[in-house]
């Protein structure tokens, strides 16, 4: 069974440019998470979806970040415009629901120069 798939693995962009990340969760997983992980830190939640509904986006910087999960399966996370401080690893995860483990993708390492 395929795990959580993310693309691209690496992305280098200039500041003020847009960037998008894509995530395909494990089949049947209703919950999808986007996390940001800064160097030497634990993952911090950006947004959580239950099916196609964003149920927690309180930590998402809405002035420049947006996300969508059309049809409750794949998801994209967009940053426009990117800032130097957005350099981090962006992790996608999914699970079956409360009380179950979260499965993580390999992440996208974003470098803004």
């Amino acid at each position: 069974e395929a795990g959580v798939v993310q693309s691209p693995r690496y992305k280098i962009i200039e500041k003020k440019q847009p960037v998008a990340f894509w995530c395909n969760p494990i089949s049947g997983h209703n919950t999808l998470y986007w996390y940001r992980q800064n160097l030497g830190q634990g993952p911090e939640l950006l947004i959580r979806y239950e099916n196609e509904e964003a149920v927690d986006d309180s930590q998402l910087p809405k002035d420049r970040f947006s996300a969508e999960r059309l049809k409750g399966v794949d998801s994209t996370l967009k940053i426009q415009p990117a800032e130097l401080g957005d350099s981090a690893v962006y992790l996608c995860a999914s699970n079956l629901g409360q009380g179950t483990e979260a499965f993580f993708g390999q992440g996208t390492r974003l470098t803004v120069v």
Partner: protein, 112 residues
């Protein structure tokens, strides 16, 4: 809000020695607890989890953890570490809201 404290940011240990990575959480209600491992340039991989039942949980790669409700701790242990155990380890907690809260991580370095 939940919080997870990993008391040691870096733990060096010699190969074949035992190791304990500490984790404490703040919660007055029932929680689910997890330990994840992250190798360089990889995502997080589940080591073990506590949902209910026996407080001693065994996971992959010879790791185990013990849930202590009175001390709100979930320390990770391994009796004999290997070079391949060098990685970043994260403790996480969630409740019925399906929201995961992660600690800041412990970098385990196994010295030959």
């Amino acid at each position: 809000a939940q919080s997870v404290t990993q008391l040691d940011s870096q733990v060096p240990v010699f190969e074949e020695a035992p190791v304990e990575l500490r984790c404490n959480y703040s919660s007055s209600v029932s929680v689910y607890l997890f330990w994840y491992v992250q190798y360089p340039n990889q995502g997080l991989q589940l080591l073990l989890k506590y949902l209910s039942g026996s407080t001693l949980v065994k996971g992959i790669n010879g790791f185990e953890a013990e849930f202590n409700k009175s001390q709100t701790s979930f320390h990770l242990r391994k009796p004999s570490v290997h070079i391949s155990d060098t990685a970043e380890y994260f403790c996480a907690v969630t409740r019925n809201n399906n929201q995961f809260y992660f600690g800041t991580g412990t970098s385990l370095t196994v010295i030959p």
